[in-house]
């Protein structure tokens, strides 16, 4: 394969000392992992071939097959609607009061698709190429190609549902460009694309609920996975209103439960976003892949004080017209920005990355902002002694395009900014700072989106496969909908073709075990009667994660974090205070379960970060950088997916490596200069 030249071959030894493994004491090496479903042959034919080979299920039999879907965000709602339509018997769950409220609703910027409506050179291959490159060559080639391939169908589907995308005067769809790419392929609905896409999927789902093919369980939280005779066969859920612990059995289980960015406490995720569904499955044998890959988003509103419960993102599309700068001189940092002369401003992204400028990918923009603030050139209020903010300035854009045009494009974001900060961004530059936003890690899945537990499928942000070490803007929505509308329905039928599976009863030992573990946990939290609130533990965990496993990570920091987290876990189980009862709505109890799982996940994230002695994407290892401070990857040693197997509490997790190989694309060191 002559075209799979790795950066490693270009610089055979890398800069790290080959045999040294600083994570060695923290994990057990496992057998390599291969994706048995990965198709071969020319990349453009792989998905067509897989679809054709997938076995069919006769319509009359579909009714007899049951599917549980946990999560009704873009990934879950689209899957539930499609599988319901196909005639399967679907049950779906979410923790909110309505599927319309899933976290996907908050996505602002847009959704990519290789439509080439702008005739600017876009194609399926280019979207594929940009996504693999953007993910720093740590995603799976076949999966990403498929994503690019079905992207065009997504737009057709959404338009048919009545999603009101932005249009041009001729009545055709409009596009814009997003961070990290040079073509306009992003479809959008003002700054509320996620909302409109989710409402489309939600309406399709409600239609199936009315038709009786899907039953919806709102305010129900999945707390355990049932694995019977080696297969995923159901879940234990708690009715969050009555506290009833319920058993739901099915032939197959799909997790579409979203990402775990809330492990950092402060993030742009919704308050309820959690890792519980995925983590409980992990403890039952599903491998967790690349857990340390976190995306930090550069354009969030800076932290204002310790009361803060979450951070707010402002769409990255702002970087199309806003210019990012900080004062050249520290002495100017507390001045009114309008009084700082042009020559005293450092437009650092334009200076360092002249060809991409303010549109460099998120990881680069984020780290550059952190660097200038660490140098003491940040702006805005001091929090804990440091100013953590940079200007995002629209003065030029307002002069060039006029205030109305700017208001038309970004008005709702400007209003939101003004509401939160109390400042008017039309007259004073906005202040932004990076925040945790998205996780590229998640449960390991094969090409069929099936986890290491047969019968457990994972879609959307909850799986790991498509974004590598860094996600380009506007591609998570694309992935969620691709998985739910177009991928899973084909691959799940291949699995279901083996059914119907032998019925299991509520007295099956696996069911009894899962139920008991749920009731015992609830009982434990309600009886510890310690002194500290759940939130205080969550906050402390978040501080540890941000400090040591955030934008920049080092061996010493990560080891320290692991110790701190282990201590925190002990204390949590002995000293947490959860009031109230199980038999009514009890938000502290809900949070306690989630924080317990976040603590265990946090430890694994640090171990994963320690193992990966390279910088790539959102993961920057201080020990691995070029002379001018850019991220340095080591393809010779780390071109693999880290898939972690649970070995038990206080046991070392087992690391299985899945090698990544590229046949349709050449691995290159990323450069945006």
């Amino acid at each position: 394969m002559p075209d799979t030249v790795t950066a490693a071959e270009a610089s055979p030894s890398g800069s790290l000392d080959g045999d040294y493994d600083d994570a060695a004491g923290y994990y057990t090496p496992g057998t390599p992992l291969v994706d048995g479903k990965a198709p071969e042959g020319p990349i453009a034919d792989r998905w067509q071939n897989r679809k054709f080979e997938a076995r069919l299920v006769n319509p009359a039999n579909r009714r007899k097959l049951s599917i549980i879907i946990v999560g009704t965000g873009l990934a879950g709602a689209s899957a539930a609607a499609t599988l319901g339509e196909a005639g399967y018997n679907v049950k779906t769950f979410c923790y909110q009061d309505s599927p319309r409220r899933a976290h996907s609703i908050a996505a602002q910027g847009g959704i990519n698709a290789a439509k080439n409506y702008k005739e600017d050179g876009d194609s399926v291959h280019r979207l594929f190429y940009d996504t693999v490159k953007g993910g720093d060559y740590r995603s799976r080639e076949s999966n990403v190609y498929r994503l690019a391939e079905v992207s065009t169908n997504i737009i057709d589907q959404c338009v048919a549902q009545g999603v009101p995308f932005a249009r041009e005067y001729g009545g055709l769809l409009d596009n814009r460009s997003f961070g990290g790419v040079q073509v306009s392929r992003t479809f959008y609905a003002r700054g509320q694309t996620g909302q409109q896409l989710l409402i489309g999927a939600y309406q399709a789902l409600e239609r199936q609920i009315a038709a009786g093919t899907v039953s919806m369980f709102t305010r129900h939280e999945m707390l355990e996975l049932i694995v019977a005779d080696g297969k995923a066969r159901g879940i234990i859920a708690r009715d969050m209103v009555t506290g009833e612990v319920q058993t739901h059995l099915a032939d197959v289980v799909v997790l579409a439960s979203g990402g775990y960015g809330n492990v950092f406490y402060l993030s742009t995720n919704a308050m309820g976003s959690n890792v519980t569904a995925a983590w409980r499955a992990h403890r039952k044998g599903a491998y967790m892949a690349n857990p340390c890959y976190t995306q930090i988003h550069p354009t969030c509103i800076p932290v204002s004080g310790s009361h803060q419960s979450k951070l707010t993102l402002m769409s990255e599309s702002l970087r199309n017209d806003g210019r990012i700068w900080v004062p050249k001189n520290q002495a100017d940092c507390d001045k009114d920005p309008r009084d700082i002369a042009e020559e005293d401003r450092d437009y650092y992204l334009e200076r360092i990355y002249p060809s991409f400028g303010n549109l460099v990918p998120r990881d680069i923009a984020s780290r550059a902002a952190k660097n200038v603030c660490d140098e003491g050139r940040g702006v805005g209020p001091e929090v804990d002694g440091v100013r953590r903010g940079v200007y995002l300035d629209f003065a030029d854009a307002i002069e060039r395009l006029g205030r109305d045009a700017v208001a038309n494009k970004y008005g709702n974001l400007f209003d939101m900014y003004a509401r939160i900060t109390g400042e008017d961004p039309y007259s004073v530059p906005m202040r932004i700072y990076p925040a945790v936003h998205y996780v590229m890690g998640g449960l390991w899945v094969d090409y069929d989106l099936q986890s290491t537990i047969p019968g457990l499928f994972v879609t959307g942000e909850a799986n790991f496969s498509d974004h590598g070490a860094n996600r380009l803007g506007a591609s998570a929505l694309m992935q969620g909908l691709a998985d739910g509308y177009f991928v899973l329905p084909h691959t799940i039928r291949d699995y279901l073709a083996d059914g119907p599976f032998e019925a299991i009863g509520e007295d099956h030992p696996a069911v009894v075990e899962a139920r008991t573990s749920v009731t015992e946990r609830i009982e434990h939290f309600l009886t510890v009667n310690g002194t500290r609130s759940v939130d205080s533990y969550h906050r402390e965990l978040g501080n540890i994660m941000w400090e040591y496993c955030g934008m920049e990570r080092t061996e010493t920091g990560l080891k320290k974090a692991i110790d701190l987290i282990r201590g925190l876990r002990d204390d949590f189980y002995r000293n947490v205070k959860v009031l109230g009862t199980n038999e009514s709505l009890n938000q502290s109890l809900e949070k306690a379960g989630r924080v317990a799982d976040f603590i265990e996940l946090g430890e694994l994230m640090c171990i994963d970060a320690l193992n990966r002695r390279e910088s790539c994407g959102g993961h920057f290892r201080g020990e691995s950088q070029t002379e001018d401070g850019e991220a340095l990857r080591h393809d010779d040693e780390f071109a693999y997916v880290s898939a972690w197997e649970w070995a038990g509490l206080d046991e070392r997790p087992v690391l299985h490596k899945e090698d990544l190989s590229y046949t349709a694309i050449e691995m290159k060191q990323r450069s945006y200069k």
Partner: protein
């Protein structure tokens, strides 16, 4: 700021509720209203008193999960969601009354949390376009005039929070319904089911126990997404036409 908070407490759907008074000190004007309640809840937890249940998720004004009556106004004194309301809208020493949405169609679950499942059931009655996955025509095959698309977007921004119902003296959900009917009615894709949609949604609305609209306009005044009152005229118009067509 120091505040006196009068808050509705109700242990569950069947028990009687009552107003309770709490004192809260050191409230920063930069806090959101819900962060203020978080701080109160930490205080209650420390004192061994059950924290106050209230709904929220995105805390960005987009999911529609939050919603409180604050001093008698749905979502409080500003035109926004409760999560985007900040304490700088209040003054030191103020007494703030906090209650759940009140509507027969939104039963209280606990404290400030209500059940808005009726909204989902209205959508189930017809608030969608019947299109199966996989067979959609090429997106550019049906152009939509920009003005229609923009207006459809404007009304499609309804977040389903229920403030319109809570603010309405009749407890009508006409603004919510009007927004959906107008959104889909403006697009070519929404035409085939237009008559059926409005008739079925209105029937479900009445069945859920929402009241009739008498054009008071309290709904649009409380709506965080500024859904305009004329969606209700559109709703009525579509309903008349559908009836004329024999639905």
């Amino acid at each position: 700021m120091n505040l006196t908070l009068k808050i509705w407490r109700q242990p569950d759907a069947v028990s009687a509720g009552a107003m309770h008074t709490y004192q809260l000190a050191d409230v920063s004007p930069d806090m959101s209203f819900l962060e203020m309640l978080d701080v109160l809840n930490e205080q209650l937890n420390d004192q061994g008193e059950d924290p106050i249940a209230f709904d929220s998720d995105c805390r960005e004004g987009i999911c529609g999960m939050c919603g409180l009556m604050i001093n008698g106004d749905a979502h409080g004194p500003e035109v926004t969601t409760t999560c985007q309301l900040h304490m700088r809208s209040f003054t030191d020493g103020e007494t703030i009354t906090i209650e759940p949405w009140r509507s027969d169609a939104f039963p209280v679950i606990k404290d400030l949390v209500v059940d808005r499942g009726a909204f989902d059931r209205i959508i189930q009655a017809g608030g969608y376009v019947s299109v199966n996955t996989g067979s959609a025509p090429e997106a550019h095959s049906v152009p939509v005039p920009k003005d229609d698309a923009d207006r459809a977007f404007n009304v499609a921004t309804c977040i389903g929070c229920g403030a319109c119902v809570a603010a309405c003296p009749n407890g009508s959900a006409s603004l919510f319904m009007g927004a959906k009917v107008t959104h889909l009615g403006l697009l070519p894709q929404g035409q085939p089911e237009r008559d059926e949609r409005v008739v079925n949604m209105v029937a479900q609305h009445d069945h859920e126990g929402f009241g009739g609209c008498t054009n008071i306009g309290a709904c649009t005044a409380a709506c965080p997404k500024e859904i305009p009152l004329d969606v209700i005229s559109q709703l009525n118009k579509d309903l008349r036409i559908a009836i004329k067509h024999g639905h």
